[in-house]
C-alpha cells in the first residue's frame, strides 16, 4: 500500500546528470524503443526521460526528434510549451506552492512570500546550495484544504508559515 500511495517519481526531483553522452544516448534509445509504435508518444517519452534523468537535457532533443522522425524545432517546441518539463536539473528537493484563487483566499500569497524569504529564492529559483527548488503551481485540487504545498510529490494542506518551516526542517541538510 505504502508504495502505491507514493507519487510517481517523475513529479519528484532527481537531479542526476547523465555522466557521459553515451549514457544519455542509451537512455534515449531505451525510452524510444519502449514507446515504438504507440500513437502520439512524444509527451509520454518526455515524461519518461524526465523521470529517468531528472530533466530533459538539450542534447536529448535532436535524439528524440530523430527517433520520431520529427524536426528538432517540433520537439523543442513541445518541451518548452509545457511548464512541467525542465531543461536543467532541479534542486535535491522540489517545493511547489499553489498560487491559485482558493489558496489565495486562505493567505496563500503571504505563504508564498514567507517561503521565498525562508528559502532565499524566488519562484523557479534554486537555493545556492542546490538543496531546494521553489516552483509555482496552479491548483492541486486541494482547494477545500487551502493553502496547498507539495514537497517532493507529497501533498500538504492548510499550510501555515509555521507548518511550512517545520516541513522544510524535515528535509535534512545533508541530503
Amino acid at each position: 500500500m505504502e508504495s502505491q500511495l507514493r507519487c510517481p517519481p517523475d513529479c519528484r526531483t532527481m537531479g542526476i546528470m547523465p555522466g557521459n553522452p553515451s549514457t544519455l544516448r542509451s537512455t534515449i534509445d531505451k525510452v524510444l524503443a519502449q514507446h515504438a509504435g504507440r500513437p502520439g508518444p512524444l509527451l509520454e517519452i518526455l515524461h519518461q526521460v524526465q523521470h529517468e534523468l531528472g530533466h530533459v537535457p538539450g542534447d536529448a532533443v535532436p535524439m528524440i526528434a530523430n527517433g520520431l522522425n520529427l524536426s528538432i524545432a517540433e520537439v523543442h517546441g513541445v518541451v518548452t510549451f509545457y511548464h512541467h518539463f525542465r531543461d536543467h536539473p532541479a534542486g535535491r528537493h522540489v517545493v511547489q506552492i499553489c498560487r491559485a484563487e482558493a489558496c489565495q483566499s486562505m493567505q496563500g500569497v503571504a505563504l508564498a512570500e514567507h517561503a521565498g524569504r525562508r528559502l532565499g529564492v524566488g519562484f523557479n529559483g534554486t537555493t545556492r546550495d542546490g538543496r531546494v527548488t521553489l516552483e509555482p503551481i496552479y491548483c492541486f485540487g486541494n482547494c477545500a484544504c487551502a493553502p496547498a504545498v507539495m514537497i517532493d510529490g507529497e501533498l500538504h494542506g492548510r499550510v501555515t508559515p509555521e507548518k511550512f518551516d517545520a516541513l522544510i526542517a524535515t528535509l535534512g541538510q545533508g541530503k
Binding site: Y82, F140, G141, C143, A144, C145
Partner: protein, 515 residues
C-alpha cells in the same frame, strides 16, 4: 472476527495526514493482537473532518474525525472498533446532515467502497449500466443519454447525447472516446475525488460511450498535478482488464474497448478540448480552430467524443436507472445533479452533490457554515479562474446554468471559491490577467498580448495613474479579448475582471502601495 476500518487515500485526506493515521491504526492493531483490515477508500467530501476514518460495525459505519496520528491510541482505548464513544466520534456516517441532505447519484460510492476493488464495485451496484448497455442498440444508448438531459459537466454544458449522436453518425475506420481530466480550475476537485474514490465508474462510463458510438479506444487525459489520482486510475484500469470489463471481448459480448491514461504536463490550456487533443497527439497544446468539431474530426483526425470526467461518470447511473429517473432531478434545462465543490475561505468546505436548483446562499451558509475566518463573505468566484466574481447581492441565485447566465455569471464545473471581506478585488482582477498571460497558448493575439497589457493597465489603475482613462481602457481591452479570442481562455478572462470592476469598483479606487 475481522473489523474493517476505512482510512481515505484521497489526496486531500493525505495532505492532512491520512497516511500516518492508516499506518498507526495498522501497527496499534497488530500490537494489541486485534484483527483489523484497513481499507483505503475515497473521501466522503467532508473536508473539514478529514482525515475522517470509519469503522464497519453491526449498526453500520461509524465515523471519527478529524483524526490525527496522536488520536489513534485513545481511539483504541475508547473501543472505536466497536463504535465506542470518543470526542471525535461523529456517529453513523449516513446520519451526518451535510451528507444526508445531498442527492448523491454520481458520488454514491465515493468514500464508501475500495476504489480499486471490482468485487466491491459490483456489490454496490457497479457495472449494471454497462450490462444494460450491452443489451441495447447503439442508437438506443445514445437516445437514453439524450433523454436524460445530461449536459457537459466540464463547464460548457453542451448536451452530451447530441455530441454522442454526431460521433455515432460518422463513418470512420477508428473512433475515440477521450476523457478530459485536466481539471485545472481553482476551486474544483470533483474530478479528482471521483477518480480517486470511484475510478471504475468513470471506466464504466467510457466503456458505455465506446459501445454507443463504435469507438474501440479510449484515453483519459489527466493532469500531472494529480499524481494520486493517476495511481488509483491505473490500478483500477488494470483490475478492469483482469476481469474482462476492458479489452477485446467485454464480458464475452464480442465488443472491444481499450483504455489508456495519458498525463498532461502542467498547461492549463489543455483543459480546452481541442488543445487537449493536440496534447494527446504529443504536440504543443495549442488550440484548434473550430469547425471541424472534434465529434467529426478529433483525435488523429478521427471522430472523437471529448467529455469531462463527471459527464462520463454520470452515464452508468442513467443507463442503470433510466433517463426518466435522472431527468427527475433538477429544474428547467438543468437536469440531474451537480457535484458542487465548496472551497477557499469556508468553514465546511467539501463536495455537495445536489439536484440543480439549490441556491448559492444555501450552499454557502447552510452547508458551508460561512467563512473559515468567521468574517463576512464578500465575494465568491464560481466556475474557476474564468468565472465571474459574485457579490453578496447575487447569493440568492439558483445553481442552474441559465440562472447563472442571467446574472452575468458562470456555473462552469461547479467549483465555488469563497473570499472574506479582506479580499482585494483589484488584486484578484490583476491575477486573472496574469494567469491568462502565463497560461495563454499564444495562438491568438487578444489572449497572448491582451492579458499582459491587462496586468499593466490594472497596475496603473491601482497606482492612481490617469485612473478614469485607464479604467475605460481596461474595459475596452476586456471587450477586445472577449470578442476576438479564439477560445475560452482569452475569451473569458474578462469575466472575473469585468465583474470585479462592476461589483467592487471601490477596490480599484484606493491607492495601493507599490509592491
Amino acid at each position: 472476527m475481522t473489523v474493517t476500518v476505512y482510512v481515505p487515500r484521497d489526496a486531500s485526506a493525505l495532505s492532512l495526514g491520512a497516511q500516518a493515521v492508516a499506518r498507526a491504526i495498522a501497527s496499534q492493531a497488530q500490537a494489541r493482537k486485534l484483527d483489523v483490515r484497513v481499507v483505503r477508500n475515497g473521501s466522503r467530501g467532508l473536508y473539514w473532518l478529514e482525515p475522517m476514518i470509519e469503522v464497519a460495525t453491526a449498526a453500520g459505519r461509524i465515523a471519527y474525525g478529524p483524526v490525527t496520528v496522536n488520536d489513534v491510541p485513545s481511539l483504541f482505548l475508547a473501543d472505536f472498533l466497536g463504535g465506542g464513544a470518543h470526542a471525535l466520534c461523529l456517529g453513523p456516517t449516513e446520519g451526518i446532515s451535510y451528507l444526508k441532505k445531498q442527492d448523491r447519484l454520481t458520488f454514491a460510492r465515493v468514500g464508501v467502497t475500495d476504489p480499486v476493488s471490482i468485487a466491491d464495485y459490483l456489490q454496490h451496484g457497479g457495472y449494471r449500466g454497462l450490462q444494460r448497455a450491452l443489451t441495447l442498440a447503439p442508437e438506443a444508448i445514445v437516445q437514453e443519454v439524450t433523454d436524460s438531459g445530461l449536459r457537459g459537466r466540464g463547464g460548457a454544458a453542451f448536451p452530451t447525447g447530441i455530441k454522442w449522436k454526431t460521433v455515432l453518425d460518422q463513418k470512420a475506420p477508428q473512433k475515440y472516446v477521450t476523457c478530459n481530466a485536466d481539471e485545472g480550475d481553482s476551486g474544483t476537485f470533483a474530478d479528482r475525488m471521483l477518480m480517486e474514490g470511484d475510478p471504475l465508474l468513470l471506466i464504466e462510463g467510457m466503456t458505455i460511450a465506446g459501445i454507443a458510438v463504435g469507438a474501440t479506444q479510449g484515453y483519459i487525459y489527466i493532469r500531472v498535478e494529480y499524481p494520486h489520482a493517476l495511481v488509483v486510475l491505473r490500478e483500477a484500469i488494470a483490475a478492469a482488464y483482469r476481469e474482462h470489463y476492458l479489452g477485446w471481448n467485454i464480458l464475452g459480448s464480442g465488443k472491444r474497448f481499450e483504455l489508456e491514461v495519458r498525463v498532461g504536463a502542467g498547461a492549463y490550456i489543455c483543459g480546452e478540448e481541442t488543445s487537449m487533443l493536440e496534447s494527446l497527439e504529443g504536440k504543443r497544446g495549442e488550440i484548434r480552430v473550430r469547425p471541424p468539431l472534434p465529434a467529426i474530426k478529433g483525435l488523429f483526425g478521427q471522430p472523437t467524443i471529448v467529455n469531462n470526467v463527471i459527464s462520463l461518470a454520470s452515464v452508468p447511473t442513467i443507463l442503470d436507472r433510466g433517463a426518466t429517473f435522472y431527468q427527475g432531478f433538477g429544474a428547467g434545462k438543468s437536469r440531474g445533479t451537480l457535484p458542487i465543490q465548496l472551497a477557499g475561505n469556508i468553514k465546511h468546505g467539501g463536495l455537495i452533490e445536489k439536484a440543480f436548483g439549490v441556491s448559492l446562499r444555501e450552499i454557502l451558509y447552510d452547508y458551508g457554515g460561512g467563512s473559515a475566518t468567521g468574517r463576512p463573505i464578500r465575494a465568491v468566484q464560481v466556475g474557476g479562474p474564468l468565472g465571474a466574481y459574485m457579490p453578496a447581492s447575487q447569493f440568492d441565485t439558483a445553481i442552474d446554468y441559465e440562472a447563472f447566465s442571467a446574472v452575468g455569471a458562470l456555473l462552469g464545473h461547479g467549483g465555488i471559491v469563497v473570499f472574506d471581506d479582506t479580499v482585494d478585488m483589484a488584486h484578484m482582477a490583476r491575477y486573472a490577467m496574469e494567469f491568462c498571460a502565463i497560461e495563454s497558448c499564444g495562438k491568438c493575439t487578444p489572449c497572448r498580448i491582451g492579458s499582459t497589457r491587462g496586468v499593466e493597465v490594472i497596475d496603473r489603475i491601482v497606482r492612481g495613474e490617469n485612473r478614469d482613462r485607464n479604467i475605460e481602457l481596461l474595459e475596452e481591452l476586456c471587450d477586445t479579448m472577449l470578442q476576438g479570442s479564439l477560445c475560452g481562455l482569452g475569451g473569458m478572462t474578462p469575466f472575473p475582471v469585468q465583474s470585479a470592476l462592476k461589483h467592487f469598483p471601490e477596490d480599484f479606487r484606493v491607492l495601493h502601495r507599490p509592491s
